[in-house]
Symmetry: C2
Subunit: 401 residues, 2 copies
């Protein structure tokens, strides 16, 4: 596997674009299209929030046949909590896109991110979609990556190349997040393209498994959004033997590459949490089962007290152990060892005398690594988050007004 | 029911005291005893954190016979994550108390709050217990209330009097919290005394039900502590006919008074969340069932985004609806109305044009009331929390060092 340039348009047969429809501001791109020259196998994973934007339900419907050819995205307006008008507007986005690129509306997937509860400026958006369709380009990944950003500080884009039985296969992706900091303006969106040939069933399994260990292990905030989704389109133009067996070596190799891409983007999302000064990585090892490991890792990354302690560079292992304790996972606290970087802070559930200076240096790193060894089995899980800062409060206290 | 003075020593036959054993600082009280002149029916509810201080397990054991006569409490050290030494020290606290007041150690309940993972200074604590036993007084409630404080800004104390079939019955209580802001220094503790005669089974049911709608509906932080508990002792000296039937009128009257006390203290704990400038009360009404109402109310009070929006006086109903959406409760978002004070902000899951000035005035009140009408049934629940401020981050970023 090697990292390559080109982002979402690196795989063969994909074009993309991003234009300014003035939904956000003058001069900020806010409408993107990602397009394959041939129909794709497609799959997605979606927010579990009961309060969902219309695009979530419409995409699930459009994906029932496991096929899609284009994705249209706008930023600046989430089109959530907008009732029947919201449904009509989402369908219109699919229709305008379909007409502009000459495909069927049911082969278009739609994503929106931005303010909740405000109707879409459909005239602008329709014009934006038509403009974006006109400038679709095999070098369009960066424009698309910019057009889906809201409060993100940096665009999130990656591509890799792997060999499957001698054939070059490429996977590209763009994402936006600022984590789930703002459900009003920070839906987690990820769009993945590949020129691999993959069966619909395998693609659905791949995105579900891979999102489970990447996007679903990120907590910037504990809040989940109305519009979160990850979509993948596979157009088969790499000419590989179709991946249709989850036990095959090709599946395994493709999954490794997809996991690499999704974990890369998930960490970028966590690190880009607004106001964050550190990425926090929590590894839970030697758990009795994977579910417990996941629950504990996520509970620690989501703990305000742990997040604030990292912001304050305070090696407070008691907060880490307490957060594990209320995760709802079963474990024996008296077997737990806790490490900050390489420095062991607690053993058998009790504190050790550790080097405060070494611990502080670990906390001053941009990536802070916390390892929790449960000494109870062989399962493990990793979660990512960021610290809780003054800046988080400032941004979120004054967001809407 | 009328509110009376005297706190935990208002009920007949109870004495209390609080002294300085220099566990926290010179001149700060940190050891308290609450004592009944006769053995009591006793019951308690305890933290569900897997990581528990020794006192939790020892109290459960001491309460197996439904009886106790004294409670000993120290602040400044939680005696959690301290292994066998912690168990030995808790048992020694019970023994020293028992010897000092001439009762059996199994009739002593123990509570500790403070730093995690540090061994108890048992010489000081033993001397403190002996000193506290010497100054037990029917006017000792305030001293005890002060001795259990850690980061609390204000002591929390209340007492009420009710009539049961003509007999005067009193209930008193003290509590400490600063919510669950610091698991290291902010265990939620509540101690309740009453001179009512109540059966052991009824007392256990009363404290469980009452804690369920008071302390368990408070979120300052989502973190729960290693040492949380609420204990109640009933000595029967009021001479009322014993309350031994949950369907009786006396049970109902007693429960109303107990709920009043526990909700009063729960709100004080929420309001005293460090850095908090507002108490947030969330009422969920017309839910399909009580469980859904509770889940949604707690999800909203625990949402960092809602908390930060209240701090910033931003009438952000989208965050409230999104927090309801990820609560795991089932409901129809398109039936939901949301009110800030008396001001309706959303109807049928969609935003209304509301008066921003009126909304801001509601958010400037010390008690901010959010009502979520699910229009789906007849159940309801109320939860309390506080806003998320710069001060919260400052305190928690620099707590241990």
């Amino acid at each position: 596997m090697k990292t390559i340039s080109g982002g979402i348009t690196a795989p063969a047969g994909f074009t993309a674009s991003g234009v300014c429809a003035e939904i956000k501001k003058k001069d900020k791109k806010d409408v993107a299209i990602i397009m394959s020259q041939v129909p794709c196998t497609a799959a997605g994973v979606f927010t579990t929030n009961m309060v969902r934007a219309a695009c979530i339900d419409i995409n699930k419907k459009h994906l029932l046949n496991g096929q899609a050819q284009a994705i249209v995205v706008n930023s600046g307006n989430a089109n959530a909590c907008t009732g029947q008008q919201g449904i009509d507007d989402t369908l219109q986005m699919a229709e305008v896109t379909a007409a502009s690129v000459n495909i069927d509306p049911s082969n278009v997937l739609v994503a929106s991110t931005g303010v909740i509860g405000v109707f879409m400026p459909m005239d602008q958006i329709a014009k934006g979609i038509e403009a974006a369709a006109r400038v679709l380009s095999p070098e369009g990944s960066e424009d698309a990556a910019q057009a889906i950003m809201t409060t993100d500080l940096a665009k999130k884009e990656i591509a890799v190349e792997i060999k499957l039985q001698g054939k070059s296969v490429k996977i590209g992706a763009i994402a936006k997040g600022s984590g789930m900091i703002h459900p009003n303006m920070a839906t987690m969106l990820s769009f993945i393209t590949t020129d691999a040939a993959i069966s619909s069933a395998c693609l659905q399994q791949l995105i579900r498994e891979s999102a489970g260990i990447s996007y679903n292990m990120v907590s910037v905030d504990r809040d989940t959004s109305t519009n979160d989704m990850a979509l993948i389109m596979a157009n088969g133009l790499a000419g590989n033997n179709i991946i249709d067996d989850p036990d095959s070596n090709d599946y395994k190799l493709f999954k490794e590459a997809l996991d690499f891409i999704n974990i890369f983007l998930a960490k970028k999302i966590a690190r880009d949490g607004e106001g964050a000064s550190h990425l926090i990585e929590v590894k839970v090892i030697n758990a009795a089962d994977e579910k417990s490991a996941r629950l504990i890792a996520r509970s620690i990354t989501a703990s305000n007290l742990t997040k604030a302690a990292v912001f304050g560079e305070d090696a407070n292992w008691g907060r880490i152990l307490a957060a594990a304790g209320y995760s709802s996972a079963q474990f024996d606290p008296e077997k737990v060892d806790i490490y900050l970087g390489q420095e062991k802070m607690a053993e058998g559930g009790m504190g050790l005398i550790f080097d405060e200076d070494k611990a502080r240096r670990e906390l001053q790193k941009e990536e802070v690594l916390i390892t929790v060894n449960l000494n109870s089995g062989t399962s493990s899980a990793t979660a990512w988050g960021c610290d809780l800062s003054y800046e988080y409060v400032r941004i979120n206290a004054s967001y809407r007004t």
